[in-house]
Structures are given as C-alpha cells and as structure tokens.
Symmetry: C2
Subunit: 201 residues, 2 copies
Amino acid sequence: MAVWMKSFKVGFRGLVQPLAVGLARAGIQANWLTYTGFVLNVGVALLVAEGWLTIGGALFLLVNALDFLDGAVARASGTAGGHGAFLDSVLDRYSEAVVFVGLLVWFARADDLAAMAATALALVGSFMVSYCRARAEGLGLDCEVGLLQRPERIIVLGIGMILHEYALLYVVVGLALLTNVTAAQRMRHVGRLFEERRRRG
Amino acid sequence: MAVWMKSFKVGFRGLVQPLAVGLARAGIQANWLTYTGFVLNVGVALLVAEGWLTIGGALFLLVNALDFLDGAVARASGTAGGHGAFLDSVLDRYSEAVVFVGLLVWFARADDLAAMAATALALVGSFMVSYCRARAEGLGLDCEVGLLQRPERIIVLGIGMILHEYALLYVVVGLALLTNVTAAQRMRHVGRLFEERRRRG
C-alpha cells in the first residue's frame, strides 16, 4: 500500500474511533453495518446506471469511507472475528462489483463500447487483486502487496465519477490497466514466496 | 457438486490420464499448460466478441476440458504443489472472466442491454463463488459446496454459446441468478461453520 494511503488510513481510523465506540455502546452490530454498506452501494450503482454520476461518485466515496466503521465497531464491541471478516470481504467485493456493473450499464446506454470494455476489465482486475490475496492466504502466504489496493481504487474511481465529463474514461482505462498490473504483481510475489519456500526445503 | 458431474469428472480423469503421463514424460511442464489454457480462452473471448458464438462455444468446451490436463501432468511428473495450484486457480478465474467480457462486448454490439446486464451479473456471480471458497480457506474452512461450481458453469455456458440463437439469453440469465445463489449458499455454509466453531468454544 502507498505510504500516503497508510497515514491517511491511520488518521481516518482515529477519526471514526469515537463514533465506532458510540455505535457499539448503542448495541449496533458490526454485521448490520456491513450489510447496510452493501445495500447503499447497490443504491450508488442504480444512480450511476441512470447517469447520475457526480452525486453517485460523491455518495460512493462517503459510503465506502463508512466501510471502515464495521471493523471498528466489531473491535469496539469485542465481536471481531473470522465470520465478520469473511462477510466484510465478500460484501466488499460485491459492493465494488455492483458499482462497476452500474457504470457498465451507463456506458452501454451511452453507446461507448471502448469505455464499456475498459470498465469490464477494471471489474475483472479489481476482483483478481482480491482473489490473489485470498487464494494465497488459503495456501498460508501473505499477499498484501501491489499498487492499487481497494482504498486506492475507491478514491480514484470516486473522483473519476465526480469529474465524469473530464476524467471518467481515463480513470476507467487506468483502472483496467493498473488493477491487472497489481494482480500480476501479486502473482509474481506469490511465485517468489513459493520459490523461497522450496529453497529452504 | 452434482453427482452426475462427479462421475463425469472421474471418468474424464481416467481418459486424460495416459495423455498426461505421456506429456509429463515428454518434459511438458504443467504450468505451460496452465498458461496455454488462458491464452486459448483469450482467443475464445475474441471470437465471441466478434459474434462467432457457435465455434467459440465449441472451442470453449474443448479448451476448458483440457484444463484438467495441467493438474494431471503436475501429478504425473511429481511437480504438483501450492504454486501450481495457485497459478491454476488465478488463471482459471481470468479465463472465465475474459470469455464473459467477450460476451459482454458482443451483447453491447448487438445493443441488447438486458443480456449485457445479465452477463455482467453472471461474471460477478461466478467470481464470487470462487472468492467465497478462497476466502473461507484462508480462514481455515472448507467451502466446496453449492449448486453451480466451475465445471457446471463451463458446460452450461458452452452449450448456451453453441445454441446461441435459441438458448444463450436464457443461459446467461440463469447463470446470473444461479451463480449468485451459489455464492449465497457458500456464505450461509461459512456462517454455519463459524456458528459451530463458536458453540464448541
């Protein structure tokens, strides 16, 4: 993860911490927030599919910033664990995917075949970044490396949607390229870890 | 996995076994076959995007039937291991995804927005089925359950492409629905396993 992103994350976590503690005290369960985040992303996808890109992009950034909350509430209420982490991961993938599908529909309506193909490849690449990590972890390896992890993807895509007339096509083409480069970085990383493992016998 | 699929798989494995042993003796590496399979699926995707659906569908079935070979060669040559399994999984996802992207482009060219949206949701659902399993395995749980695993998806989609005029739209809508149902089944399965784990303390 980029360094600026890491300090941003730490700062943001400090900001949401009091809110998370409050929600945990009020009896709000972390899983509810996870499901709510997904439903809100479906809403964003519908807005985007209808061409409401500026408001869709702004909501997309807001909704996914709140995505920090579920983990923070789980920790604050002492309910953090494997199941919550699983649900959060799976619904994060779904959330990102539905927004890309919304964009796909919008580009198809606008008859922009190139932008549509780029969006599809960006969807595939984003998935593959996460899949590589999950599959590597299943084999007992760490894989949190690479250029464009989820927070970076969210911020870039959200800004692209807000500035859609000027930036969205470039952002989507950039994501199509860089998410797949990130997946390739992870594949190479895993290859190296296996090579090391083999050498050490 | 469906029972018919399991016996089909066992029979098919028996058929390719001699071929796999021959390839392993000839010094063919399993990873080369994995990469070749991906490249051939990219070729299928290009055919499909150009509207060559019948030939694309037939090649799709053939290419992905040969996908059995890499694992068989790895076992026959004694090189089976984590890295090969990782590569195979990741490139299987990419292979399936590029073919869906090819279909997306074709439906977009045909101005069929409904079929396009269904294809996008089928792509997402297929990914999620695999992602759920990988993520569950990362948390130490088995997750090979559910209606539509990869061999079933391949066969249904391949036949749909071959009979495209009559069947493809229904197949894609069916996949959009059933892949996501399968992902939901896996999420529920994982939820139950965590519940059990919690009860046993």
